[in-house]
């Protein structure tokens, strides 16, 4: 006889074996545990890292030469540097380093470390190196141009008299982190500047040190006992790689983690009613836009570009589809930047768009493709735009692809329309002017490929204006120049700039003091406490 009760009993027994009541897991009182998708980390070396997650990790473990108040970006102050002076001709800055401070290793921080860090980044010439090399440094000349003049002083000589604000903001970027020269040199192999070691190692002086990074799994930070500022309350901060927002939500509700960093609209809605959780947000510098390739016969007509700006339902998308994660913004400088232009003249106006299309000789509209990254967010945004464009007869065909695919096509200028995000590289307005409003060489193989080039938008006059703005020493005047530039850009450019990103996170009620800054490097947990 076959007894089914046997195997039923076996199944039940196997479950009860592990169902011995597990204590409700609370995270340890001195440990902060975050869930985030951290698969974008490819290096923790400040001279190479250039991604959101790695930027935040470096921001909490390294100190840059210069810093600013994340709540008031125009308030610039020294971090490793104590003070600076600009020379008569405006080409040389002389920095003085704060004395009596040390790295996590215990080695003292001197001007030699600062000079080494900057020259190392220039010579290694990794992705973020351009933030420094744009001042005229090359691997060959940097040793003469950035030179130590005393134990705590060094000079920084540029090829032109750039606006001091531009230089200082560039020195707040991760690439200007001061690394522990002695420690890095101990790990140097065949003149690699310790690169292979620092990729996963740590040689900084920030509030936390990096104990371990296991790709796509975990990053463990530990309190740095030699930090010169106030000691953090958290002894350990852990990033767990949890790629799925729904999974993050469950973990947070179970208090297995303290903070969930990736939240979709569903999670935000569901969590906002939970009394044990707090949702916080902060405006980030990332901008959502569409780029219209001027190689396309339809898109190159100025009336068409303008018509498209009247065919996006900005308000509705920001209030429903991307609720809580974007704010309407239509100029190339994000809010919070020097000279940001905050007027949003465009709204959904199908009639006006139709008039413009008729003017362009396309009264019945036309068909065009749009490369759409296959993330839930970008796809739903693209579909909403597809709907409103159709009302004026523009047939938008979406071509889905993953990030690598769409970007590859975009950089080869073989798209019609590209929809995506652009985040600033450093906190100065030039970072976005450089890409949205400059195109020094529109040929097929230029030295750099700014967004204006990718959309084949040839703009010698605007390029000259953007170039003039980086040499304006007076900050107020300079801000004005950028406002003018953005007004013109908003009216005539083949960019439909739509939204600015808001970073959202949810944390347990007992967690306080996480600072959400304007860039990911400014996100700080040095002041986090737990009740």
């Amino acid at each position: 006889m076959f007894h089914k009760t046997h195997w039923l009993a076996a199944v039940v027994a196997s479950f009860t074996a592990v169902s011995a009541p597990m204590a409700q897991a609370e995270t340890p009182a001195d440990t902060l545990i975050m869930a985030w998708s951290i698969d974008d980390v490819i290096s923790l070396d400040p001279a190479e890292l250039f991604e959101f997650t790695a930027g935040e990790i470096a921001g909490n473990s390294y100190e840059t030469l210069i810093g600013y108040d994340p709540m008031n970006v125009s308030d610039i102050s020294g971090k490793v540097a104590e003070s600076w002076e600009v020379s008569e001709d405006g080409k040389t800055l002389t920095f003085k380093i704060k004395e009596g401070r040390s790295f996590a290793s215990g080695n003292p921080i001197t001007a030699a470390d600062a000079v080494y860090s900057l020259t190392r980044a220039v010579k290694m010439d990794m992705s973020p190196a351009f933030i420094l090399t744009q001042f005229g440094f090359t691997a060959d000349n940097v040793d003469e141009k950035i030179r130590q003049t005393g134990e705590y002083t060094f000079e920084f000589e540029m090829d032109q008299a750039y606006a001091p604000t531009l230089v200082l903001y560039c020195l707040t970027a991760n690439v200007a982190s001061v690394v522990d020269m002695k420690l890095v040199q101990e790990h140097e192999v065949d003149g690699d500047f310790g690169y292979n070691w620092l990729k996963t190692g740590y040689a900084g002086s920030g509030p936390f040190s990096i104990r371990e990074w296991r790709a796509n799994e975990v990053v463990v930070m530990e309190r740095n006992p030699n930090y010169s500022g106030d000691a953090p309350a958290m002894a350990r901060v852990i990033y767990r790689h949890i790629p799925e927002p729904a999974t993050q939500r469950i973990l947070l509700e179970q208090s297995d983690i303290d903070i969930a960093r990736d939240l979709g609209p569903d999670e935000i809605t569901a969590m906002s009613s939970n009394p044990d959780l707090v949702i916080e947000d902060g405006v980030k510098g990332s901008i959502y836009y569409m780029g219209l390739n001027q190689k396309n016969e339809f898109l190159s007509k100025p009336q068409v570009a303008e018509a498209m700006k009247w065919l996006v339902d900005y308000e509705t998308i920001a209030d429903t589809l991307m609720k809580g994660r974007v704010t309407v913004h239509q100029a190339f400088l994000p809010k919070g930047f020097l000279g940001a232009y905050e007027e949003n003249p465009y709204s959904l106006n199908v009639e006006k768009a139709k008039e413009l299309l008729a003017e362009a000789g396309l009264p019945d509209g036309f068909t065009v493709t749009m490369d759409t990254r296959n993330t839930a967010e970008i796809t739903s945004l693209a579909e909403a735009i597809q709907g409103t464009m159709a009302q004026a007869g523009i047939k938008l065909e979406l071509i889905p692809g993953d990030g690598g695919q769409t970007l590859t096509k975009y950089r080869a200028r073989t798209h019609d329309i590209y929809i995506g995000q652009w985040g600033p590289d450093y906190q100065d307005p030039h970072t976005n002017a450089d890409t949205f409003a400059r195109n020094p060489d529109n040929s097929d193989s230029p030295a750099s490929k700014p967004l204006a080039w990718r959309n084949a938008w040839d703009i010698p006059e605007m390029t000259a204006k953007a170039d003039a703005a980086v040499l304006e020493a007076d900050a107020d005047k300079r801000a004005e120049m950028y406002v003018e530039l953005q007004k013109e850009h908003q009216a005539v450019s083949p960019f439909v700039i739509m939204f600015q990103e808001i970073e959202v996170m949810a944390h347990r009620k007992n967690v306080n003091g996480f600072v959400i800054g304007p860039s990911f490097s400014d996100n700080s947990y040095a002041a986090v406490t737990k009740d």
């Binding site: 992705s127 296991r214 799925e244 999974t247 973990l251 509700e253 970007l407 590859t408």
Partner: protein
């Protein structure tokens, strides 16, 4: 893939050495073909691997340097040849992304998948075989229908959804099991990963608290994978058993008065076990490929997650290395099931 093809013909007994040579040659050719196809696919994928390395903001000079570093300036066939030469010396190259040797990367992620898949296939077998037998014995009756429905859900329910549902019920609501991940942070540094199979490591080091924690992490994803392989195994068991129960020797045994349970569990199942071994091996290989969705839902740092990430970034060395590992596993399990087949089935043995 090398299938476990059976030639039913009456071929002359070949000398053993010759057979071995043939086998090795076919396996080698299989791998060569596998590598070449993967390599080609990787090159026609419209993703620029240089961008994955340098990012979107790098200057053209940096881009050009990395392009040459990755050997992308050479003709395709030459790139493949260089790759093959390296593979022969055991060098699978480095990942573009992690800059670490591929073998190190795979050795790091594979144990997680191995542990999960092994657990899953064991569960699938101990549940699937009895259920399949039950369905065959009660053919057309209620029990058969129930088993069929259970199997159907396993076949058609999206694993992603089932995984989240499982987390919601057993972890969030009931608190019976631990959540996503392999181990709680508090136990993370208690054990030294020697084999990388955390259950084994913790047991060998006598860390029973950690062992319990690891077990409560793995039980849910393993049950989920077990359920899926059970659906397949029970269906196949049912059809093999029906086939056996209709054979003459079963009728003869009944006439002889052999008890029914003995006929089913001893005589029929033993004969059905032969093709079942192949089914279980294939099911195991499927799980070992790293079930991408399960690993995503449960934040399981295994081969599935690694390969997905590598593919999305056109990290060719990693994709090729990972594919090769899967190929080795697949071919290895196939050979193993062939071998077991030979051992278990007297008819095959006589032919060989």
């Amino acid at each position: 893939m090398a299938g476990a093809s059976k030639t039913g013909g009456r071929n002359r007994a070949l000398p053993f050495a010759w057979k071995a040579v043939k086998l090795i040659a076919s396996v080698a050719l299989t791998f060569l073909g596998l590598l070449f196809v993967t390599f080609l696919i990787g090159r026609v994928v419209p993703v620029d691997p240089v961008l994955s390395v340098v990012g979107d903001r790098a200057s053209q000079a940096v881009y050009d340097r990395v392009y040459i570093e990755l050997g992308l300036d050479k003709p395709l066939i030459q790139q493949f040849w260089i790759y093959l030469q390296k593979v022969f010396t055991g060098d699978f190259g480095s990942s573009f992304l992690t800059k670490r040797p591929i073998l190190d990367d795979i050795i790091r992620v594979f144990p997680a998948t191995l542990e999960l898949a092994t657990f899953g296939v064991i569960l699938g077998t101990i549940l699937g075989v009895p259920l399949g037998v039950l369905a065959a014995v009660k053919q057309g009756r209620l029990a058969d229908q129930v088993v069929r429905v259970i199997g159907l859900i396993g076949y058609s329910a999206p694993i992603f959804w089932l995984g989240l549902l499982g987390l919601l019920i057993f972890y969030a609501k009931l608190g019976w099991v631990a959540g996503p991940g392999r181990i709680d942070i508090s136990f993370e540094y208690d054990i030294t990963p020697t084999t990388g199979l955390l259950l084994l490591d913790s047991a060998m080091q006598g860390k029973w608290a950690a062992f319990r924690n690891i077990f409560s992490h793995i039980i849910l994803p393993a049950s989920l994978l077990g359920y899926f392989s059970m659906a397949y195994i029970s269906r196949m068991t049912r059809s093999f058993m029906l086939n056996e129960l209709a054979q003459e020797y079963v009728i003869a045994a009944r006439v002889k008065g052999v008890p029914e349970w003995r006929i089913i569990w001893v005589h029929a199942l033993r004969n059905a076990a032969v093709p079942l071994v192949t089914v279980i091996a294939l099911s195991y290989a499927g799980l070992l490929e790293g079930s991408v969705l399960t690993e995503t839902v449960f934040a399981w740092p295994g081969l599935g997650q690694y390969l997905t990430n590598s593919l999305q970034n056109a990290d060719m060395n990693a994709v090729l290395g990972g594919t090769l590992v899967i190929g080795v596993v697949f071919v290895g399990l196939n050979l193993l099931s062939d071998l077991l087949y030979t051992l278990l089935d007297p008819r095959v043995r006589r032919r060989g």
